[in-house]
């Protein structure tokens, strides 16, 4: 199934306000520690990096490791500084990047 992601960003915020961002990405997060029916190891295939950019500047990033569930949900806080675009990038072991973005109006 093609990866898809959803994000929840407040549409508006006051300058300096700390806002919560919620994200969820569809991914099987194959840990690399399971074996198939024939006893062969199933190769690891997880998202290993998540990055959030605010008008182009990185404001939140995290490295991910095995033992994170499939379809991971992540929420975090950032400070609203200016109106613009918030972008999200999930990169997996195959180098595939799932992207999402949202607009925010800051007054």
């Amino acid at each position: 199934m093609a990866a898809s992601a959803k994000v929840r960003v407040p549409a508006t915020a006051k300058k300096g306000e700390v806002i919560e961002i919620k994200t969820q990405v569809q991914h099987e997060m194959e840990s690399g520690q399971r074996k198939d029916a024939a006893g062969k190891a199933i190769p690891r295939q997880i998202i290993n990096k998540f990055v959030c950019k605010y008008n182009g500047a990185e404001v939140f990033a995290s490295d991910w490791h095995p033992a994170i569930s499939a379809n991971p949900y992540l929420s975090f806080f950032i400070t609203a500084t200016e109106s613009g675009k918030i972008e999200f990038f999930w990169t997996d072991d195959k180098g595939e990047v799932t992207k999402a973005e949202a607009e925010i109006k800051v007054s």
Partner: protein, 273 residues
Amino acid sequence: MKRAVLTATLIGAAAWLAACTDEQPASGHPTDPKMAKYVVGKLRTGYTYAEPETRAIQDDDFNNPSFFWVDRGKEIWSKAEGTAGKSCASCHGEAEKSMKGVGATYPKYFAPKGKLVNLEQRINICRTEQMKAPEWKYESTELLAMTGYVKMQSRDLPVNVAIDGPAAPFFEKGKAFYYERRGLNDLACKHCHVDNEGNYIRAELLSQGQSNGFPTYRLKWQKFGSLHRRMAGCNEEIRAEPFPMGSDEYVNLELYVAWRGNGLPVETPSVRK
């Protein structure tokens, strides 16, 4: 191994269950006002037995990973496929209107086949006969997505399956299955979901085994899955040979299970442990 957590713990389950019947009643809170909608008389949905963390995932559609599938179903709804060049929407228009209440009435007797069909199978009949498109495999992403999307159009409406008329003999077969002991552990569905509802079986709190939330996102599966997959799991847990998903045996059983919950609100897409 993601799927074998319970299996290994169930040897000797029968004796163990008998021993734990005297323990504390369910830790669910059927009197909590937040639960009200999921309690109808003596009937309680799996939601009321779920842990708060699991319920929280279901409470907010944004957090509920089922929506990756349901949203996919919505996309496919208006995508033409097959040699008839039609999509579901070509004939059924907006699912929100045309499919409202439909999922709550399945499985249903289907005269052209002379037997019951469940929602998955009814959708596939439209695929093959109306759209001239290949049928979706049971438990495929597409079939789960569409079943979830169609069933969700009945969310909060009461389960309302018919067991009279031509459905009656199939209902009787389903009921017989429910009460029949099977497997190495020699247990029937009713031993867990009727006699021991509210008791723990190791770390699992036994619910009434209601079907109103299916397809469901199960944390153990880490994906969306069908009622038949759950039934097969319950069969395997007692060391019984599961029936194939979509088999007549499971569809008849599905009618019995749905009828036990007639009146409960459809909860699809639910989230379970």
